[in-house]
């Protein structure tokens, strides 16, 4: 059984270099979500700033050109607008679209609650209030760095460094606001259901399998090798009989001591059938509680015996 782990130990590295957060919804079944890269978060932030600046510009022009208001009131209105389109914009958009501002929608990321509940208004407000300290103020100071004294310039640089280092330094890439609010920015999950290889394999349809595998043939490999083979078979760019496929077949037959020769042109059929047989074998082992992670299972078993 899986223990509901402490949330800060639940980050692991995915296969494409992304970080995976094991996220436990109220139903108690952990779901893996990819933590958003800093690049896409930066992109979303820049898009948001551009969008809000555009809105302010358009509104300001509209107010100025329609006229009718005294200068004083006009200035105040424009400054109020600038104020409303900062933190309140982020809070309201993340509330309405469940953790997505316009920029986040475009870059395909979203905010979630770390502890698996729904995102609360408090969290959204807290994380975006901190944005003022983490992003707007230091960036604003950066623009005026020319007119600052040496000490002020150093302080600005230090501030920016501190803000940048925090999300780089923790495994979940949370900025300070995320930590205070208990939120996390993840990639929007996308789901594509690929076909089942055990069904679509060409030989599975024919009643007579072309290759016969004995239990000792299937006792070598584990889950890792099976799923690597799955990746190879799903890779549509690989044509049958390429050098790579032939090499894989040769390696497998040598490793499992498969006696019969595989005829040229039959390689892909062999791999498909081997995949099916191996999966059936490993799945039934797993049902009986003997999950095999990889081909070193014999080794780990003897290691364990030695320890005892």
């Amino acid at each position: 059984m899986r223990e509901p782990k402490q949330s800060n130990q639940s980050v692991s590295d995915g296969k494409n270099g992304e970080r995976i957060q094991q996220f436990i919804p109220p139903e108690g079944v952990p779901i893996a979500l990819a933590i958003a890269s800093l690049g896409s978060r930066l992109g979303a932030q820049i898009l948001d700033i551009i969008l809000t600046a555009l809105v302010i510009l358009v509104c300001a022009l509209a107010i100025v050109f329609t006229g009718g208001l005294p200068t004083n009131a006009t200035t105040i209105l424009i400054i109020l607008l600038g104020f409303l389109l900062r933190t309140p914009y982020y809070v309201l958009s993340e509330l309405i679209w469940n953790g997505r501002t316009l920029g986040k929608r475009i870059t395909g990321i979203r905010v979630i609650n770390v502890d698996g509940r729904r995102l609360t208004p408090h969290q959204v407000t807290a994380r975006n209030l901190m944005k003022e300290v983490e992003i707007f103020t230091p960036v604003g100071l950066l623009f005026t760095i020319g007119s600052q004294s040496a000490l002020e310039a150093w302080l600005t640089v230090l501030w920016l460094l501190a803000v940048v280092i925090v999300p780089l330094a923790n495994r979940r890439r949370q900025r300070i606001g995320d930590m205070i609010a208990g939120t996390l920015v993840v990639d929007n999950p996308r789901s594509v259901l690929l076909s089942d290889l055990a069904l679509t394999a060409p030989a599975a349809q024919s009643s007579q399998p072309a290759f016969e595998f004995l239990p000792e043939h299937l006792d070598i490999y584990g889950k890792y090798e099976l799923q690597t083979l799955e990746d190879v078979l799903r890779d549509t760019t690989k044509k049958p009989n390429t050098e790579e496929i032939v090499k894989i077949v040769r390696t497998i037959t040598r490793r499992i001591r498969y006696e019969e020769p595989v005829k040229p042109g039959q390689e892909l059929t062999f791999l498909n059938e081997f995949y099916r047989a191996q999966r059936e074998h490993l799945e039934s082992l797993k049902l009986f509680g003997k999950a095999r992670e990889n081909k070193y299972h014999e080794h780990t078993k003897t290691e364990a015996r030695k320890l005892v």
Binding site: N72, T75, L193, Q205, E283, K286
Partner: protein, 358 residues
Amino acid sequence: MTDLRIDPRIDSGATLHAGGPNDLLRSARFRLEREAHWRQLDGLVTRAEKGGAAALTYDEVRNLAAGYRQAMNSLSVARDISLDRALVAYLESLCARAYLVVYAPQESLGGLMSRLLLRGIPQAVRRSALPLFIGFLALVLGAFAGYRLCSSDPSWFYTFVPPGMADLRTPDASADYLRSTIYGNERHEGDGLAAFSAFLFSHNTGIAVLIFALGVFMSVPSFILTFYNGLILGAFFAMFRQKGLGYDVFAWLSIHGVTELAAISIACAGGAGLGLAVLLPGARTRGDALRHQAHDAVKLAILAALMLVVAAFIEGFLRQLVQDPIWRLTIGWGMGVFWVGWLLLGGREGKASRGTAQ
């Protein structure tokens, strides 16, 4: 509803097993039996993602919730019996998407706002007496110190007040000029004054936000910034006072200042609350205490922002229109009474209902 119910007995695949010429893998059978339901859920989730849950009919929403739980169930079974990585990955992302749709915030914005205004903010204010005391104390001490220092030696004024903010209002200016800034007529320097009040507003929001957010560092920066704001205030007041304009400037400051300075103190209180949580976490860990205190602090920050917006409106429209000091005092302190009344009386519940709510 019933069309989504999945027969939990895996044995139902036995007929398939016996009938088919090729015996299917157990995991493949598991997938074949449920795939239609997953795809149905997928369709519902896709529509809900595009148009929100409002895009679905009543029955579809029910199916979505039921389908979500079934998919979760399938996912946990699939992890145990299937080594097909594509299947587990699909189920995982499907469940994640369905989760995000099912557990979306359910409250309307209007409901949220009214709850915040009627109950959340006043209750948070009443809970944070100590931080509020610190916030107002910082401002009052600052103002007092500024006033005393500038009264004894006007050159302190140049130390405290940044030149951009003072404009031409320095101790060297004539009493007539200073009077004209208080009862400003837009004719001769309207633009300058408009820019000044705009500057003040953006200055004050910036200060308030900084004061609030820097409170995490053990309240000290919040206290210092608020104290400094008080110093400026005291210096200004002392300068006008020496020219015999004490009453007039008091009225001029009151009309928006009561709201604005209270907002700054409240922002400071929010920051101080966070700092206190770090300094004196009590039985909690520091992180927990900070997170707990953040609930009230965020509400104080929202209140401060709200008051700043109101102050900006008063400053932008009323201050130029209302010239009589009596009216300026009435409006300014009337707003003060309104804030106090709202914060002290709002969101009170009967003792019985409070007992059950806790």
